[in-house]
């Protein structure tokens, strides 16, 4: 099977990395995860809840999910997981993510995601494969123990390992010491790693990330009277000139479409918009200097064409200077970032602190300031070595021009670090999947086999033993 890419040993281990936007699941030793799907689970209302809310009863049972077998008896609600399953138009299905502030919050949906991953994503029997799971760098003890218990008890895995996301990313970049700046969907984090250990007190998080950009773009489009009509709404469309009113015919539905499904579909359009249009300018944004830079055009699903000049740079600038350029009233658009991020802009708690402390919703902090704050909160002796390896990872880092701009900003912000260096893999998959790839290599090593927490160790020592096995 696998192994060919890295020449790894045959151990048949699986690597699971659940992010706030996507879940990455695959075989250890392969170079990319075999199965990547949204960390979003749709739940039909339970019959009990449905009658209370007086929603129509005849909607939920027809479209049966194929992949989500093995549900516990307590779960009577229909669930929907997976890219294609979620794309089917359904009324009355509540879509939501599993993470909040970078930690697993909704364990019911977490299990449904894992069910789907084993049964449909990889089509494997969990009991036959050791599982290495990438965990958030600030995953607290209770959550680690819960994961350990869940995978040993419910999925019956023969061996388990928890790897800190930032450490796996740093190692995959050949740097046991460095700052891992992970620009994720629901939040960005700056995690100092020294000799392979996370410095928990110096972790900084910011709400500036992929979802933040999406809501800024949504707000921008709304202000320009552009209505996003996701492709599910469009039955047909005609080509129109730039900025002309779109000519399209709507699809009609017998039943009302649930709000979360509409938001999810809109989010996909916005993601496309971010990736095809936005661009980080090389230095601090200034409308006059970007006026002569190339514009970019974008076509919406309903056929509307627009062209963006300075605004494509200004929208990207919100990543670095949210105070000046971001619109604080932008609504949350991502269904995977849960309720709290809607109010992230006006969070009053100290969002820069370690989220393990109190799960405070992070505040929007520019990416270079986030990195600078994390480096400066470390011991003065290790700052030079951390600053000489600022490792940029995460799907949010794929906005064009971002690593170059970050490097320029950090050089200005940290003049004392003479060897400051920003590292961003040129391959976008290596940036998006850096921690998964690190885990994949590690779990495929023959020598790593002694490091797993085995089922026997779990039975003898209990879930708390994970703290000793996976420091």
């Amino acid at each position: 099977m696998s192994g060919a890419m890295f020449g790894g040993d045959e151990v048949g281990a699986l690597v699971l990395d659940i992010g706030s936007a996507t879940t990455r699941f695959g075989f250890a030793g392969e170079d990319t995860p075999k199965s990547v799907f949204p960390s979003v689970v749709g739940l039909a209302p339970s019959h009990h809840a449905a009658s209370q809310d007086s929603v129509p009863m005849d909607t939920s049972d027809r479209d049966l999910p194929s992949g989500t077998a093995g549900g516990a008896a307590r779960r009577s609600r229909k669930s929907y997981v997976g890219t294609t399953t979620l794309a089917v138009v359904r009324s009355n299905v509540d879509l939501a993510g599993v993470m909040q502030n970078g930690l697993v919050e909704d364990w019911e949906r977490f299990e449904l995601l894992a069910d789907y991953g084993f049964a449909t994503g990889l089509r494997v029997d969990a009991a036959q494969h050791p599982l290495l799971m990438i965990e958030p760098s600030w995953n607290p003890r209770e959550s680690r123990e819960h994961m350990t218990e869940l995978f040993f008890e419910k999925y019956n895995v023969p061996a388990f390992y928890l790897a800190r996301s930032a450490v796996a990313s740093a190692f995959a970049n050949g740097r046991p010491t460095g700052l891992v700046l992970d620009i994720g969907a629901s939040l960005s984090s700056a995690v100092p790693v020294v000799d392979g250990f996370v410095m928990p007190k110096s972790i900084m998080t910011s709400s500036v990330g992929g979802d933040f950009l999406l809501s800024q773009c949504a707000q921008y489009l709304e202000k320009n009277q552009i209505v996003i009509r996701p492709s599910y709404m469009v039955a047909s469309k005609q080509a129109v000139a730039l900025n002309a009113a779109p000519k399209w015919t709507p699809r009609t539905f017998a039943e009302p479409i649930s709000d979360s499904f509409h938001r999810y579909s809109k989010q996909l359009v916005l993601q496309d918009f971010v990736h095809s249009v936005l661009f980080c300018s090389g230095r601090t944004f200034d409308r006059d200097s970007v006026a002569n830079l190339p514009a970019a055009s974008f076509e919406f699903p309903d056929g509307l064409n627009i062209s963006l000049g300075a605004d494509r740079y200004r929208l990207a600038e919100t990543l670095f200077d949210p105070e000046t350029h971001a619109d604080a009233t932008a609504p949350a658009v991502s269904v995977s970032s849960r309720a709290s991020s809607a109010s992230a802009m006006d969070a009053t708690s100290d969002g820069t602190k370690d989220p393990a402390g109190g799960l405070a919703a992070p505040k929007p902090i520019g990416l270079h300031r986030l990195a600078t704050a994390a480096i400066n909160s470390c011991d003065v002796d290790v700052r030079p070595s951390i600053g000489s390896s600022v490792i940029v990872v995460g799907g949010g880092s794929l906005v064009r021009g971002l690593p170059e701009r970050l490097d320029a900003e950090l050089r200005m912000a940290l003049p004392a670090i003479s060897k400051l260096k920003t590292v961003a893999s040129g391959l976008s998959v290596e940036r998006m999947f850096s921690s998964w790839i690190g885990g994949s290599i590690l779990a495929s090593l023959g020598s790593f086999q002694q490091m797993w927490m085995s089922k026997q160790e779990y039975e003898e020592s209990g879930k708390a033993y994970i703290e000793k096995k996976c420091v």
Partner: protein
């Protein structure tokens, strides 16, 4: 999070010779072909130079090394320092980077008495004057 890679027992004796008897100028280590053990690939005579050492760091693969560095300082005269190098150039394969990064602690645990550690990914980070500057700043 460690790879579980072992260290060749010869490493300990060679390191003692380098540290106490100055038998070697530098020693270079690498992983064996099946990635299970860190072994010695090069033991250089005391007459070897820093430039010779740099020439032995491959541009597209990782290595570890210990260098017995003797240098003059304007303020405090002659110094001798044991410097540990973790060499992981960007051009090396991601598997090598992961392996070397996750195995470093196993090697370092057996090397007692190192004065400094250099995590290097390109020529500028192993530049002689930069290393000296880094060592001197630690003396203050």
């Amino acid at each position: 999070m460690a790879s579980g890679v072992k260290v060749d027992p010869e490493v300990a004796t060679v390191f003692q010779d380098l540290k106490l008897k100055h038998t070697y100028r530098y020693v270079i280590f690498q992983l064996n072909s099946d990635n299970t053990m860190i072994v010695i690939t090069k033991k250089a005579d005391p007459s070897a130079t820093y430039d010779e050492f740099l020439a032995e760091l491959p541009p597209n693969d990782c290595r570890y090394a210990v260098y017995d560095l003797a240098y003059d300082t304007p303020e405090s005269g002659k110094r001798e320092k044991l410097v540990f190098f973790a060499w992981a150039p960007n051009e090396s394969k991601i598997k090598q980077k992961m392996l070397y990064a996750s195995s470093k602690d196993a090697l370092k645990a057996g090397l007692v008495g190192l004065h400094a550690e250099i995590q290097a990914t390109d020529a500028s980070e192993v530049d002689y004057s930069y290393i000296i500057e880094k060592l001197s700043s630690r003396d203050r």
